[in-house]
Each structure stands twice: as structure tokens, then as C-alpha cells.
Subunit: 143 residues, 2 copies
Amino acid sequence: MSDAFSLDPRLEGDSVPLAELALCTVRVMKDARFPWVLMVPRKAGLAEIIDLDAAERAVLIEEIAAVSSALRTVTGCDKLNVGALGNVVRQLHVHVVARFEGDAAWDGPVWGSGAAVAYEPGEREKLAEALLSELRVAGVVSA
Amino acid sequence: MSDAFSLDPRLEGDSVPLAELALCTVRVMKDARFPWVLMVPRKAGLAEIIDLDAAERAVLIEEIAAVSSALRTVTGCDKLNVGALGNVVRQLHVHVVARFEGDAAWDGPVWGSGAAVAYEPGEREKLAEALLSELRVAGVVSA
């Protein structure tokens, strides 16, 4: 299929798989500075939220809500940051980031804020397992 | 009413009114560097998208879509940036920004990127009138 969905190589390289929801493939960013989840609708040729139809957007916002709730529950963060930018990688992707007062980019945005820091062994897996558990409780994980 | 909605003074100071949609009050940022719209749900006590209920979130995403479409049609931008951060001002607000390759913050985010530049006389009003016209065509302006 010429227009099958495939994840942008840069997004793929910067993150690891977490879960498959009805619309989005959900990944954890390889950056220990911020608990940071990446959501990518599995549909080819998308760049903007408005490239989705209304029914898909309704699913997207509920998947964003589920991921946001999981991230806040797991991390106890002070603030959530949700963003769809795509200035560098054009494939539509939504960031959901747990922010803490005084974190490495506070109170600015995480995007474009210095270099990623690797997780200590096992730490990213621990975050991922806790998030996945919350998403399963929320009933949104389809695979 | 102790919990009536009132716009955060900083958001109010940084922007001017554009339109009232079913859920959000919509404003144009006073920054000529970027065609930039601010959307604030008119409900007291909100900080996160997940502080809205599911029905309100469904309205929010469609209002974001309407504003996004209007902004792209009017500006012919290369990319839309949509973000709900709130690290500085906690009242829930969503930014929709028209981005151009080579603009003052490209390819980074607009948030935290230098000081606002005032519009030339009449330019902001021209943008606002064009956006309002598009939102009226889309049938989302309630007042």
C-alpha cells in the first residue's frame, strides 16, 4: 500500500513504544528530564489536527485526555503541557508532557530546550509500565 | 457568583477580543511576529484540558479545528502550532499559531521566544476581521 501509515524515523528514534490506542500509537520519549508521551494517529499523510475528520478528532481528544490523566496520576506533576507543533517533523504528532516547577525547562516549553538526557537503566521501563497500567484501567488500550 | 468565569489579567493584557464561541472566548495576541489566536473556555477553575468533561472536550476540539482552519485560510501559513501549556498562567488556554518557515521563532516554539512586537496601526484589526469572517462562515460564532 503506497499510503499505509508509517512512523516518521525521527519520531521513532526519539521514543519507544508504549501502547496502541484506537487512533494513536503512543510512545515514551527517551528523555529523562521530562515524563513525556508522544501520540501519533495511525493514518498516512496527516500534518495537522484539521487533517483528521471530526469523528477522528473526537477520538483524538479523548485519547489525549486518557494519556494526560495517566501521566498526572503516575507522576503527580504540577502541570500538563499538550502540544501539536510539527515544525521539524511534519507527521502529525501530539506531545503530552508532565511538568514540574523547577524542571529542566521550567517555565518555558520543553520543545527546543536543550538536549535529551538518557534514562537510568530500568527507569523508563518503570514509567512505561505504570502508564500502561493506568491506560488499561481507563480501558483505552486496544493492543 | 464566587466562581464565575473571569479572564486572567495577563491573558487579557496580552490579547484583544475576537469572538465568542459556544465554549471559548477567542482573542488575538498582540504580537505582530505571529498570527496567533488564544482560546479560553469560559468556565471558572480550569487549569487542564482534563478539567473539562468529555462533552466539553468534544466542543473544544471542534472549536480548535474551526480556529485552525480560519487561521490557515486567512494567513496561508506553512504550519499550525496548537498548544495548551499554562506553566506561567494557570487558567486553561489554548494557543493556535500560524507559523511560517523562517518566522521569528522558526523552527522552535513561539512560547518563551523573545518579546512581542506591536502591530502596525490597522494590521491587527485587518487580521481580526478576516478571521471573524471565516469563523462566521464556519457557523461557530455565537455572539
